[in-house]
């Protein structure tokens, strides 16, 4: 593509900078509140930058013995990584079948897959809890990781199926002529072509697992097994005078790793694509 005209570039830059500011506001406000002392927080506007910035709140959150940050960080890292691996592989397999193969009741079965998204989780929560209890999975990481390997959820299957349907069949047909079976086509041809979509699914899964609250809340009892999002909610006690300086510091600390991951991961939306050569 030839470079767009100067005016277009200027407009794009303006929108990018302006938009970034708008979307940064919530985070900046959290950060600013996290950097204030309780006294200053109580007496200044949230939009005002800290007058005497302090890292005390971060230190408190990081070193609180009752709520061990490091333990919770390790737990959620393990859960989120396992889920991501599981979802990326299993949902892409299922999506491949729906996008590329012909089989009995394919479209109806796809509707069935989608329908699992349509029933509110509130009413399946208790039966699911009882099920996991009978499996002796309560108070382990299994309820939070095993389902990822078993299909990876309708949302991800649907997303990957859509993406795969958008990829021309030229390459897989060429591979088939060379004698490749479905597994080879899936593993060698389609997966590499799905880079951006796989990155999206992986990213969503990781963020979702990292930020999941109800899952860990229900299934993890031991404080030593808690995840960050759950454990740091401890600061948000029922009292009307919640320690917002700590809640904000905790929330910034939970978000930071995700920011880094997204910042690095967004490259894959570009790099993963190798389609220029297809004709």
């Amino acid at each position: 593509m030839r470079p767009p005209a100067l005016a277009t570039r200027a407009l794009a830059l303006l929108l990018l900078v302006g938009g970034s500011i708008v979307f940064l506001i919530p985070f900046l406000a959290s950060l600013s509140m996290a950097l204030k002392s309780p006294g200053e927080l109580a007496t200044t506007s949230p939009w005002q930058a800290p007058i005497q910035p302090t890292t005390d709140n971060f230190r408190t959150v990081l070193t609180n013995e009752n709520i061990s940050f490091l333990t919770m960080f390790k737990n959620v890292l393990l859960i989120a990584s396992l889920s991501t691996v599981g979802v990326v592989f299993s949902s892409s397999m299922v999506a491949y079948a729906f996008a590329r193969m012909k089989f009995v009741a394919r479209d109806k079965l796809f509707l069935l897959v989608l329908s699992t998204m349509m029933l509110p989780g509130v009413v399946t929560m208790i039966p699911t809890y009882v099920l996991y209890k009978e499996l002796h999975w309560v108070n382990t990481f299994l309820p939070l990781t095993v389902p990822a390997f078993l299909g990876g959820g309708a949302f991800n299957i649907f997303l990957l199926r859509q993406f795969m349907m958008g990829i021309p069949r030229d390459l897989d047909e060429a591979a088939k002529i060379d004698g490749a079976g479905h597994w080879t086509v899936y593993w060698r041809v389609l997966l590499p072509l799905c880079g951006p979509a796989l990155a999206t699914v992986g990213l969503f899964t990781f963020i979702g697992a990292w930020r999941d609250f109800m899952g860990p809340l229900l299934y993890l009892n031991d404080p030593a097994k808690q995840t960050l999002e759950l454990g740091l909610n401890t600061y948000n006690s029922m009292q009307t005078t919640s320690p917002w300086h700590l809640i904000m510091a905790a929330s910034v600390l939970v978000t930071l790793p995700l920011m880094v991951i997204f910042f690095i991961g967004q490259r894959f939306f570009i790099k993963g694509i190798a389609m220029t050569g297809i004709k």
Partner: protein, 801 residues
């Protein structure tokens, strides 16, 4: 339990009293304390273990908001903890269904235990049908007024001694003995008539309203344990709420609801700390936070103390009646506990002198044992460290207990009360008069109340019928999937078929083992009356007919949800598409821009909800600052004028407090999360092969033609996905309303799932909730099927020939 084990347990508990144990027992203790409180509980548990060798305590904590939900799941699965924290409004649901045991039989096991040591009201409120189910650990009268001594001195007023009374009008002749006059004296306005200081602010409106209602001798229901009548339309109650609304909006002696939402961090305590309100009504639990914020010597510091909330002169007797709302909590022993004697030891420890002294020392909770509430460390004394002396008049906390009134404990009280409670915001915002609001609420609540009171006993759940029905459903689905086929499959087709099911295997295993079972069970339960804790009863299609014809909230919540979907989904789609196109450009630092745009979708819910509450503030909120300018008199593109027309109320837009603006506010808020859609579309854009653009350029196409001929068609699969999943998610919107508005004001954000969730976990009607869920399922299915027709406009490269 085998007899020998039981004997060992008995022995253990007896011996444990002498701090020698024989058998090791592990007890699970669950609390909702967070932060400071959790540290104290943990220390108390450690000291218990040290004093009782052989008994181990596994402390679990669950945030208050989800505490009951998790405990219910655990009770349903037979996995509940041994000792659980409880409070008056929570325990009856468990006690009534036998999920926790009555404690009376254990009293004799502890030699020096006397239930009379405890404050009587907090013990009585935990009795259900004559039996005690919760051993109280603290009592928290909300009839306390924090006051700013500096502002009192400045106004030339004597410090309150707690003997004052309130009346509907200031009584100058009574001077400082009249609360309303004091409020008036302590409020100030600037030259333009804008309030700059308020006399008084309650921690939340109900705290003050309840005080005004109770001290008139009125109650919200006729019987706190088995209520059959709700009194919200009583003239005294109506007058109380109208009076408070007028104090805020007309007299401006207390902050109006708009102003409270303006200043509060999470509550109005900030006004008191900022010295903008001279008095603050709250329970004693604000003290630790106040001590931290008002360190002696810091520039925020001012001299403060507490006193009692005012009483009200009974016109008949001429005597002052004092009454105020109350909180409190304690510990219950769950029925599934297998080591009841040890659990009792733990209960009396955690709700007894050892733990109470620790809580008192931290200033967190007033001991439920009267004796401990009169001595150090609760009441400051000679050995109290300097930083723990505030507030000096802590003795008032004991006097406050004499006038406590608890919320009714009936397990259906909370559900019915939401009908009235959800109208309070509208009264305070002035969009409805108290009389009109509560009579509207009364109409709806009466329908529900009649159902509750006339509940007939139902037959046990018809499992054989359900099993047959369930089999029929499964058979029906299988028949629909694999019904009579048109033709026989060829060999190649059969091979492909087998291979395909191999690829599907992970999903099939997951569905059969984990997903479909609970779904089918919830379908069964939609035909049942099921309270989660006891076996279900058969209700047939009763839940469905109730939903369509008797539920006062069914159609309203469906309408609100549909309205949200109609606006949020298309707007979200357009915004994320625009963002994706913008972020697909090649400029320096694009990674950084992408991260910025996506950031709101990453942030944690609790923190974000607070920030958004502040964004949407009527005054000082960023959004209104943009619309009305820094001085508050501007009007950007006439948006302010438009908002005023929509809101039907003058002044700056009170986004979350006005019932016509709350839903638009949530739609607007959802746009900040458009980053997720952006990422999907960005991935879709990146998936478009470059050579199409190259070909288009060769053909001499401009940017718009390229978008029309290449970008848009090839993006349709991703757009279609975003639309379909967007609609599905939007119909199930919950969290935003749960944390931001709790369904208010006046039900304007009571989404379908919020209603369904409250029915399931607040009203304990999982059966009815399941029916609602399956109705929503059907609605979403229909909309998805309708959207599926758009598929023909979706360009699938793989199908293109």
């Amino acid at each position: 339990m085998r007899p020998s084990v039981r004997f060992a347990c008995c022995l253990a508990s007896v011996v444990a009293l002498c701090s020698v144990a024989t058998a090791d027992v592990t007890l699970r203790l669950v609390v909702w304390d967070g932060d400071d409180g959790l540290g104290v509980v943990r220390q108390a548990a450690k000291e218990f273990e040290a004093a009782h060798p052989g008994i181990h305590v596994r402390l679990e904590n669950v945030p208050y908001g989800q505490y009951a939900t998790k405990l219910l799941a655990q009770v349903a699965a037979g996995a509940s903890p041994d000792v659980a924290m409880m409070e008056p409004k929570m325990y009856q649901g468990f006690a009534r269904r036998g999920a926790c045991v009555s404690l009376d039989g254990f009293f004799g096991q502890t030699p020096d235990f006397r239930i009379d040591d405890y404050y009587k009201p907090i013990v009585d409120v935990h009795r259900f049908e004559g039996k005690l189910y919760v051993l109280p650990r603290d009592i928290a009268p909300i009839g306390l007024i924090y006051y700013n001594k500096r502002l009192f001195k400045e106004a030339g007023l004597a410090y309150p001694d707690g003997t004052w009374t309130w009346d509907w009008k200031p009584r100058p002749e009574l001077k400082e003995k009249d609360f309303t006059w004091v409020i008036q004296q302590l409020s100030k306005r600037d030259a333009k008539g804008k309030p700059v200081q308020w006399g008084f602010v309650p921690a939340w409106t109900r705290a003050f309203a309840d005080t005004v209602v109770y001290s008139q001798g009125l109650r919200y229901v006729d019987d706190p344990v088995h209520p059959t009548r709700w009194n919200w339309t009583d003239p005294g109650i109506v007058k109380a709420y109208q009076w408070i609304a007028d104090l805020g909006m007309k007299e401006q002696w207390i902050p109006s609801s708009t102003e409270i939402s303006n200043v509060l961090m999470s509550s109005s305590d900030k006004l008191f700390l900022e010295q903008k309100a001279a008095m603050f009504q709250c329970g004693i639990w604000a003290v630790p936070a106040f001590r931290k914020a008002l360190k002696p010597g810091s520039k925020e510091w001012f001299d403060w103390d507490i006193t009692l909330a005012p009483g009200h002169i009974d016109p008949r007797t001429g005597k002052a009646v004092r009454a105020a709302p109350t909180g409190g909590s304690g510990y219950a022993m769950m029925s599934s506990c297998r080591h009841q004697k040890e659990a009792w030891l733990l209960t009396t420890w955690m709700a007894g002198p050892p733990a109470m002294r620790l809580m008192a020392k931290a200033g967190l909770a007033q001991p439920a044992i009267k004796r401990l509430a009169l001595e150090e460390p609760w009441v400051p004394g000679p050995s109290t460290p300097e930083d723990q002396r505030y507030p000096p008049s802590r003795k008032f906390t004991d006097e406050a207990v004499a006038s406590v009134v608890f919320d009714p404990t009936a397990d259906y009280y909370l559900e019915l009360n939401t009908y009235y409670e959800s109208k309070v915001d509208s009264v305070m915002a002035g969009t409805l008069t108290a009389e009109r609001a509560f009579s509207l609420a009364d109409n709806d609540a009466k329908i529900r109340l009649r159902q509750i009171l006339n509940q007939q006993s139902l037959p046990p759940f018809n499992w054989p019928f359900a099993a047959i029905g369930g089999t029929a459903v499964v058979a029906g689905v299988l028949l629909w999937l694999y019904g009579p086929r048109q033709r026989k499959l060829s060999l190649a087709e059969r091979k492909e078929n087998r291979a395909a099911y191999g690829f599907l295997l992970p999903w099939i295993i997951g569905a059969l083992a984990l997903t479909l079972g609970p779904m089918i069970l919830s379908l069964f339960m939609s035909l049942a009356d099921w309270d989660i804790m006891t076996p279900a009863h058969w209700r047939g299609v009763g839940n469905y007919t109730e939903a369509f014809s008797q539920d006062p909230r069914f159609w309203g919540s469906l309408r609100v949800t549909a309205l949200y979907t109609v606006f949020a989904v298309p707007l979200g789609l357009v915004v994320s598409l625009a963002m994706a196109l913008l972020l697909n450009t090649k400029v320096k630092g694009i990674a950084l821009y992408r991260t910025c745009f996506y950031l709101p979708a990453l942030a944690s819910t609790v923190a974000t909800s607070l920030v958004f509450k502040k964004l949407f503030q009527a005054e000082g909120g960023l959004i209104n600052s943009v619309i009305y300018g820094g001085d508050g008199h501007g009007d950007l593109f006439g948006i302010g004028w438009l908002l005023e027309k929509i809101a039907g109320a003058p002044g700056p837009a009170n986004w979350l407090g006005n019932e016509r603006l709350a839903l638009p506010a949530l739609v607007l808020m959802s746009l900040w999360g458009a980053g997720s859609g952006m990422v999907i579309l960005l991935a879709g854009l990146q998936g478009i092969p470059q050579f199409y653009y190259e070909a288009a350029t060769l053909d001499g196409a401009g940017p718009w033609q390229k978008f029309k001929a290449v970008t848009f068609p090839l993006l349709t699969p991703s757009l279609f996905f975003t639309l379909v999943t967007g609609v599905i998610a939007s119909f199930q919107i919950f969290t935003q309303a749960f944390v931001m508005t709790s369904g208010g004001p006046n039900d304007s954000t009571r989404f379908f799932i919020l209603h369904l969730y409250n029915q399931a976990f607040e009203a304990l009607r999982m059966g009815y909730s399941s029916a609602l869920a399956w109705i929503l399922f059907a609605v979403i299915l229909v909309f998805t099927a309708l959207q599926w027709r758009l598929n023909r406009y979706v360009h699938y490269e793989a199908e293109a020939k």
